[in-house]
């Protein structure tokens, strides 16, 4: 993904022969913050690709006796000295008055953090059977495995659930945006290239869809999904529902580009020398706005992620046993559960960081794709 930087000496002459994407990359690289965000997004994508590797426990394993354990944060110092990261064990005591379980850190037991530990078995990328995990605590008595981010109502490990949720939330964003990109480019392209009645019809359709209030429509559509559907079907249905209203913005963008490019000298020249329509579109027009499309797509992904979170949070999107950030946040749906277990809001932090970095990355790409920006 990251191209080697051009040699300092021939940078001047390289500019004249560089293809458009390379010049975009050069401009992008100057935006330091966006570059940092590219790394963060890359890391989140890595988690989404292999959440099992980053998880410390089986995210579906419940344990009624270990519900609502607060996060066992990594400790870096012991008795005033810097040490290898470890966590304290916890001990549950029932409050004799409220009968609530109170978890207190047990300073005596320390579990050092270990890397590349053996844990629950899984298949990497769905293919390679293995039981190695990036982080873990190997020498813990059974039933006392530390929970880095605490546990939920059913005693499930929140850290591991968060890793699994990353896969679903990120991929739903990507798939929904992919569907709307295809629709947007197809309909926007047709609209911009042919003009006339077709253009008019498609533009009216877009205006109509944009005049609909999105969340009520999404809610109604999701409520229409049969409750009996298996998780994977619901997953695809939700992506389609999100994409259904999401393609209009991209279509507008593509149409605008087509309209302005149609009259450009190089397109007219290509038409005059007898290039076929397909050739004009795909080898002359499309390359000159690909970078804009990439920027627009990058900015559309965070919106989709937020929308999935909304839907699942309201209980109309993905449903357990599926794990997504929205499903995780549903555990913290009211004040009472937040007061009881504030750490259930941590998945929200992941949503914010992901959306934030994708937005900055998209803005950086958009600025870089504009050849007239200073």
């Amino acid at each position: 993904m990251i191209a080697p930087p051009p040699a300092k000496g021939d940078a001047g002459s390289a500019v004249y022969v560089a293809p458009a994407w390379k010049m975009t990359w050069w401009r992008f690289r100057r935006h330091k913050l966006a570059l940092v965000c590219l790394w963060v997004v890359g890391f989140i994508t890595l988690i989404a690709l292999m959440p099992e590797f980053f998880a410390t426990q089986d995210p579906f394993a419940t344990s009624a006796r270990r519900a609502y354990i607060p996060p066992q944060t990594l400790q870096l110092t012991h008795e005033g000295r810097l040490t290898w990261p470890f966590v304290y064990g916890v001990e549950g005591q029932r409050d004799p008055r409220t009968l609530r379980m109170e978890w207190v850190a047990d300073q005596e037991t320390r579990y050092p953090l270990q890397l590349f530990v053996r844990g629950f078995p899984y298949r990497l990328f769905g293919l390679i059977p293995t039981d190695r995990h990036l982080l873990g605590f190997a020498d813990t008595p059974p039933g006392a495995t530390p929970n880095l981010l605490g546990t939920d109502r059913l005693g499930r490990d929140q850290w591991s659930r968060l890793m699994y949720g990353t896969r679903i939330s990120l991929s739903i964003g990507l798939v929904a945006v992919a569907i709307s990109t295809v629709l947007g480019i197809l309909l926007g392209g047709i609209s911009g290239y042919y003009g006339g009645l077709t253009d008019n019809l498609i533009q009216r359709l877009i205006e109509l869809l944009q005049a609909l209030p999105p969340i009520p429509i999404w809610l109604a559509l999701s409520a229409a999904l049969p409750r009996t559907w298996p998780v994977t079907w619901v997953y695809f249905a939700i992506t389609v529902i999100l994409a259904l209203l999401g393609w209009t913005r991209l279509a507008r963008e593509v149409r605008g580009r087509f309209l302005s490019l149609r009259e450009e000298d190089f397109v007219v020249a290509a038409r005059l020398v007898g290039a076929s329509q397909g050739r004009i579109i795909f080898s002359h027009m499309v390359p000159s706005f690909t970078s804009h499309i990439i920027a627009a797509v990058t900015l559309a992904i965070p919106l989709m992620i937020l929308n999935e979170t909304f839907l699942s949070f309201l209980g109309l999107g993905l449903r357990p046993p599926a794990i997504s950030w929205g499903v995780l946040l549903q555990e913290a749906q009211n004040l009472q559960s937040v007061v009881n277990a504030p750490w259930l809001l941590i998945p929200g932090l992941f949503v914010i960081v992901t959306v934030l970095t994708l937005n900055i990355l998209g803005d950086g790409l958009r600025d870089a794709a504009d050849p007239y920006s200073s």
Partner: protein, 329 residues
């Protein structure tokens, strides 16, 4: 000008017709109807209902007729101002929706005013002090504002208020005013509760609009007329506020078209979290319970509000910008 408004007005009935079809299709889409989910609910509670009663209910609600007849009946009644009856609540929809709609509009308007009151000064400050520390702070805040789902912000603020100050900031009224008829005291009580949902709802939009104002103002500040005014010796703040700002905030008006639907949609989620007595939680309940006429009517109301928002923004824009006004002639 009149032609322009007339043209916009003429599209509205057509749009509403399409929206009514979409709403109806949406509420018809779930498998089964209200009675099947009602029977299931009764069965869960251990009661059964005999077939004759079911048939009678089905006839009473018009659920035995073909779908197009159901649609025509619904739309026909709507046109006569009859919003229908909620199947679940066994009350007229007008009663259920009435006050909630007023509160929804109050919340939306308050958020809109909050957004403009905060976003425009921030935009002006960041543009006139481009690349200053202040500009960077606002940029960072804007990005965070855009990235935070509003229900999360609501939860965090509610939690802080409870944890630090021992306040429960849910709802729009104190208990003694919740069911009371409208009075001055109730109105004041509403204002005391409205500010938090108003801020929660307005934050994302504030971030977006501040960015728009900043970008527009930066474009305007470099134009020859600004240079000219500066050369004539006009004080900088007077110059900025008098000329470029007026041009720069015009596009903000056009954002009304998408901002109002966004506020209405966002308000729905915030209302569920903060248990506000607005229309949102009612819609959610109706959708889950397949209370089809109530859900359909609410969705249609959302569509109508969106259309009105767009219309107002079109008219305001035409008033502001002669180029748009002339388009109709």
């Amino acid at each position: 000008m009149h032609w322009f408004i007339l043209k916009r007005l003429l599209i509205i009935p057509f749009l509403l017709l399409i929206f009514s079809v979409i709403s109806f299709v949406l509420i018809q889409a779930p498998p089964g109807d209200f009675l099947t989910s009602y029977i299931a609910e009764l069965a869960q509670g251990g009661t059964t209902i005999d077939q004759a009663q079911i048939d009678a209910l089905r006839r009473q609600y018009g659920l035995d007729r073909p779908i197009y007849m159901q649609y025509l009946l619904w739309v026909g009644n709507l046109l006569q101002g009859d919003l229908g009856v909620s199947l679940e609540w066994r009350r007229a929809n007008v009663e259920l929706i009435g006050e909630r709609l007023v509160l929804t509009l109050a919340l939306t308007t308050a958020s809109l005013i909050f957004t403009w009151a905060v976003a425009i000064p921030i935009g002006i400050l960041s543009a006139t002090r481009q690349y200053s520390a202040l500009d960077y702070v606002f940029t960072v805040l804007n990005y965070i504002g855009l990235a935070t789902p509003n229900f999360l912000l609501a939860l965090v603020l509610m939690w802080i208020a409870f944890d630090r100050f021992g306040m429960t900031v849910t709802g729009l009224f104190s208990p003694e005013y919740a069911q009371a008829p409208w009075s001055w005291g109730r109105f004041v009580n509403l204002l005391q509760h409205l500010w938090l949902p108003m801020i929660v709802l307005g934050v994302a939009g504030t971030a977006q609009i501040a960015r728009v104002v900043r970008a527009n103002l930066l474009d305007e500040l470099g134009k020859p007329y600004s240079e000219m005014a500066r050369a004539k010796g006009l004080p900088e703040w007077k110059l900025v506020l008098k000329y470029p700002t007026r041009v720069a905030i015009a596009p903000v008006i056009s954002t009304l078209g998408w901002y109002v639907p966004q506020l209405l949609s966002g308000g729905l989620v915030v209302s569920v979290v903060m248990s506000l007595p607005t229309i949102g939680p009612l819609l959610l309940r109706a959708l889950i319970g397949q209370d089809m006429y109530l859900a359909g009517t609410i969705i249609l109301i959302f569509c109508v509000l969106t259309v009105i928002g767009t219309l107002i923004s079109d008219i305001l824009l035409a008033l502001l910008d002669p180029r748009i006004r002339m388009e109709g002639n």
